[in-house]
Amino acid sequence: MTQTETPTSRLHAAYPESTVYGAVGDAVVALRFSEIEDEYDAIRNRSAVFDLAGTPLIEISGSGANDVAQRILGRDVEFLTAERCMTSLVLETDGTVVDQVEVWGREDGLLLAGSVGAGERLLEHLRSEAADRVTITDRTGELALLAFEGPYAWGVVGRLIDGELAALPFESIVDATWEGEDIVFARTGSTAEYGYKILASAEAAEKLWARATEEATPAGYEALELAMLEVRQPIVRAEATGANVVEMGAGWLVDITKDDFVGKDAVQAAFAAETRRTIGFSGGSAVPEAGTEVTVDGEAVGEVVHAVHSLALGTTLGLARIAPDLAAAGLTLTVGDAEVRTLTSPYVTPKSWSTPII
C-alpha cells in the first residue's frame, strides 16, 4: 500500500501494526495481519476471523425486487426466504461474469454480498438492469461483514454469540441481537470449513471485531483466497477474465433450468461448444504467472489461470485452462519448466468434514 491509499475497512485502526495491506479490485484490504502460515493454520485447524471489508453490500428492495433479482441472478431465487442465503453468478448478456454474489433473503427484498473489491462494476451492472418498482441501494459504507472459518469456528460462535446459531443448517440466516446491537447471522462460508458470517452496523462491528479477535485468529485476504482455491471455490477476479462460465467450471453457480436470466443464452451456447476446461494442478517450486503455457512434449495444450504456493501441499497449487480432451485429473503435464500433476478437487481435505459440532 502506498501512503496515499486508505484502507477500506472502518476497523483498520484496530488492526495490528504488522498488518500488510494491498489492493484487491477497488478495495484496499488486509492481506495478512501477521504470518500467513499462522493465519492459514487457523483456517484449517483452529478458527479464523475475517473482516470482509471491501465486500460490496447492495440491497435490492421494492415490490419488483424479486422479479429483478430473478432476472439478474444466474440461480433461482424465486423461493429464497428471509431465512436463507445462496451463492450465484451475475452475468452480462454475453455470458461474461460480472461477479459471484452471496444472496441473502430479506423481508423487503434481497441483499447481495459480492466479491471483495468488485463493488463498482457490480453496482453499475445492477443499476443498469434495474427496473421500475425496484430500488438499488449501496449499503457498503454503513454495514460491515465479518466471517468466521475453521473446524472449530462453531465453538467461537457459541462463546461469542449463541451456541444454537452455530448448529444452524447450511445457508440459514437469523436476525439476532448481540450485546444490544441488531445483527444478521448466516451459516455460510467459502473454505469448506465451518463458516459463519455476521452482518452488523459499522459501530457494532468494531465491538464484535475486538471480541472476536480474542477468540479466533484474525486472518487476511491472502490466507482466505488460498483456502478458497484449495476447495475449488471460484475466485472471480483470478478466474473469470477471458473465460465463460463453462470454461471456468462454474456452471454450478447458474441454474440452466431457470426460465431465463441475463446471460442464459450465452451459457447454453458455451455448454454446447467444445471449449477449454479448468483443472487443478500441483507441482514445481516456482509459482507460474497467469498465462504461462501448459505443454505436453513441447506442444501447447493450455495455459495457467491462477497459481499460488500451497502451504498444505508444500508446492505450487494452481488452475489451468486446457483442451477438453486433456481436462482430467491424474495426468502429468508441463507448466513452464516444471512437471505438474493434475488433481481432483478438493485439493486439501477440510478438517471440518470429520469434526462434529458438539
Partner: protein, 104 residues
C-alpha cells in the same frame, strides 16, 4: 507418456465421471443434463447441494452400478465427481488430497 496416451487416460477418467453423473441425475431425479455437472463441482453443501439422505441413495446406486461398496468411506470420497471416480474405478490413478495438519 505421449500426448495420445494422456488423451486416452483422460478419456478413461471422463468416461467414469460421465457414468457417475448419469447415475446421480437418474437416481436423485435431478432436473439437469448429467454433463452439466462438472468433474470438480462440490457435491454437498455448495455445489450440487446433496444431503445425507442423498448419500444413502448414492451408496446403493454405486454398489449397483459399479459393484463397489463405499459404506465405510469418509465423506471426502464425495468431494467431487472426479474424486468419487477414483473410488469406484480402481484402474484410475489416485490423486489423494493433502490434509492441512501441521501445514504451518
Amino acid at each position: 507418456m505421449t500426448i495420445d496416451e494422456l488423451r486416452a487416460a483422460a478419456a478413461a477418467r471422463q468416461q467414469t465421471c460421465s457414468r457417475i453423473k448419469k447415475m446421480i441425475v437418474s437416481r436423485l431425479d435431478l432436473p439437469i443434463e448429467p454433463d452439466w455437472i462438472t468433474d470438480d463441482q462440490p457435491l454437498f453443501g455448495r455445489g450440487l447441494e446433496l444431503d445425507s439422505l442423498d448419500v444413502l441413495e448414492l451408496y446403493v446406486a454405486i454398489e449397483a452400478e459399479f459393484d463397489v461398496a463405499l459404506y465405510d468411506s469418509d465423506m471426502s470420497v464425495f468431494g467431487s465427481v472426479s474424486r468419487l471416480a477414483e473410488h469406484v474405478d480402481p484402474s484410475l490413478p489416485k490423486t489423494e488430497p493433502a490434509t492441512a495438519d501441521g501445514a504451518a
